[in-house]
């Protein structure tokens, strides 16, 4: 069985969804209440692959909302993640993806040091961040859409914002290997980490975001911030391909310009039959039917393939081989990068 640990996009969204699902006890409550709310298994899911194989899974709502980060409720945020993981493990789920902010919180707050949660000793092998598949999908989105826009990746200027993160570093490695002549711009908040990464990568230029944005033919946005980001599209190169793989994915609504194309990064479309009663598009208002986060899809792929292991774990561990491996399995089971 696979699991998906998710969260809602905002407090307002959480309240609206609780109302829609008939959980009135949760619908009218403020952030304090959500800080106390325990994880819930909200859906049982059946998925049929292109190969005909059928697997089962569960969606676990962590009750985390991004306001917990923007309002410094860090303890609550970390509890949501750890408790959702313990909840998944108690149900005997073999492989569970940490969706959205939950994997970022796990990483940034070093939750690896917390093993024992009540009477559960967390087995991290049962969890995956899904980042390898997300990185693979982002590179496919880039490869498929850039030529349509007349952008030649061989000679393009490509900005990766969040370059030292798990997904960002994987995308950079992929770019450095496949497009060694491209002008790779590296942007990240932690300058020291960025310099170390540049040395490890052996290529790329370190710039500030404001310096880099006007230069880029392609922007891969894989930084995550609780509140999102404002970018002026007139300051961008035209044409410009933006792949919004961060969280929340709201660049599309903020950037409207005929010469700028914004893709929802790290999203897949699927040709699979998925039976999920309550979740599907409800969980994220930006996600439509037959679309899904690539990180969630990774848990499904791992379950299909019987790879019950933390395929994606830790920071900076994603290799090109693993991206290729998960990519081949992704295609086999019916996932495609979202190109619209």
């Amino acid at each position: 069985m696979f699991g998906l640990i998710g969260h809602l996009t905002s407090l307002e969204h959480a309240q609206a969804l609780a109302y829609e699902l008939g959980y009135l006890e949760y619908a009218e409550r403020d952030l304090d209440f959500w800080c106390m709310a325990p994880p819930q298994t909200l859906d049982e899911i059946k998925v049929r692959s292109l190969t005909g194989q059928v697997i089962e899974g569960r969606y676990i709502e962590s009750c985390f909302v991004p306001e917990m980060l923007s309002q410094n409720r860090f303890k609550a945020a970390t509890r949501k993640v750890i408790n959702a993981m313990a909840h998944a493990q108690k149900q005997g789920i073999d492989i569970t993806a940490l969706g959205g902010f939950t994997s970022i919180i796990f990483e940034n707050f070093n939750l690896e040091q917390i093993r024992d949660v009540r009477n559960v000793s967390l087995d991290f092998k049962r969890f995956t961040t899904g980042n390898t598949h997300t990185a693979y999908i982002i590179t496919r989105q880039m490869e498929l859409v850039a030529p349509e826009m007349g952008i030649d990746l061989e000679h393009a200027c490509i900005l990766v914002c969040g370059a030292t993160g798990d997904i960002g570093s994987a995308v950079c490695r992929w770019l450095a290997y496949h497009f060694p002549k491209a002008d790779l711009l590296l942007v990240a908040r932690n300058h020291q980490r960025l310099q170390e990464f540049q040395q490890e990568l052996g290529t790329g230029r370190i710039l500030s975001l404001t310096e880099a944005l006007p230069l880029a033919d392609v922007v891969v946005w894989v930084a995550s911030m609780p509140k999102g980001m404002d970018i002026d599209p007139t300051q961008l190169k035209h044409p410009c391909l933006m792949i919004d793989g961060g969280y929340p994915k709201n660049l599309r609504t903020k950037i409207q310009h005929p010469q700028v194309r914004v893709l929802q990064g790290g999203m897949v479309e699927h040709a699979l039959d998925i039976d999920w009663k309550v979740i599907s598009s409800l969980v994220d208002m930006n996600v439509l039917e037959r679309q899904m986060y690539a990180c969630f899809a990774e848990a499904m792929i791992l379950e299909f393939e019987g790879w019950h292991t933390n395929f994606s774990w830790g920071r900076n561990q994603i290799t090109l081989e693993k991206m290729a491996q998960i990519g081949a399995a992704s295609v086999k089971h019916g996932f495609r990068p979202l190109l619209r």
Binding site: M36, P38, K75, L111
Partner: protein, 228 residues
């Protein structure tokens, strides 16, 4: 939960003052638990021995927590603790008097046990080394008690379901009142109310789900009176 009580001064006046009430609550809670299991044993004669052995275990826990107080040279404020449990105790006595074993089990084997487990779980990372050791041992036992009530109620789920809902409505709001009452003292010991409530909701919700309630019912039952 990440930092481990690094800034707590276990010998400070403020800590020991708060501890006198929290420690008393724990001692009194274990004492009442022991008495409650003896009462429940009268109602469930078939399980008499198991219940009496649970009662004995609770008495052992009580002694352990008395030692924790002595270790910090704190005198537990037992009158405060008796008052703290008065309403829940009265409800238990009322149910026992009419032979309402379902309500008795809900109060003792579900609510009080879940309350204890969550409090101990949140306390362990911030406890002084002596108390930590004792509390860790107690927590292991507490999971067993929760299981007894769960097992019995699960076996009789169809006939006890409505009574459980009613008993939940009557008693769960008392838990929130009790938590509010000790919020400041708990904070002094490094225990955050939101964490306590969340842990309680998990333990209590898990028990209700195990007994047979659906996710939807569990969410409704556990949130009863929380926002009031």
């Amino acid at each position: 939960m990440v930092e481990r009580g690094a800034t707590l001064d276990y010998q400070s006046e403020a800590y020991r003052d708060a501890y006198s009430r929290i420690n008393a609550i724990v001692i009194e809670g274990e004492q009442e638990a022991a008495e409650n299991y003896v009462h429940i044993a009268e109602l469930l004669a078939d399980h008499r021995e198991e219940l009496l052995s649970l009662a004995k275990m609770e008495s052992r826990h009580k002694k352990g927590f008395e030692a924790c107080g002595r270790n910090l040279q704190v005198t537990p404020d037992l009158p405060f603790a008796k008052q703290f449990f008065a309403k829940l105790r009265a409800n238990f006595q009322k149910a026992f008097a009419v032979g309402d074993v379902v309500t008795c089990l809900l109060i003792q084997a579900l609510i009080i046990e879940a309350f204890a487990i969550s409090a101990y779980n949140i306390y362990i990372p911030v406890a002084d080394p002596f108390a930590r050791k004792i509390t860790e041992g107690v927590v292991k036992d507490e999971y067993l008690h929760l299981n007894f009530g769960q097992r019995w109620l699960k076996e009789h789920f169809a006939e006890v379901k409505d009574r459980l809902k009613e008993a939940n409505r009557e008693n769960l709001p008392l838990v929130w009142q009790m938590l509010n009452e000790v919020e400041e003292d708990a904070a002094q010991l490094g225990m955050e109310k939101a964490a306590l409530v969340e842990d309680f909701l998990i333990a209590y919700g898990d028990a209700l789900a195990e007994i047979g309630f659906t996710t939807r019912e569990v969410m409704q039952l556990t949130a009863m009176g929380l926002a009031a």
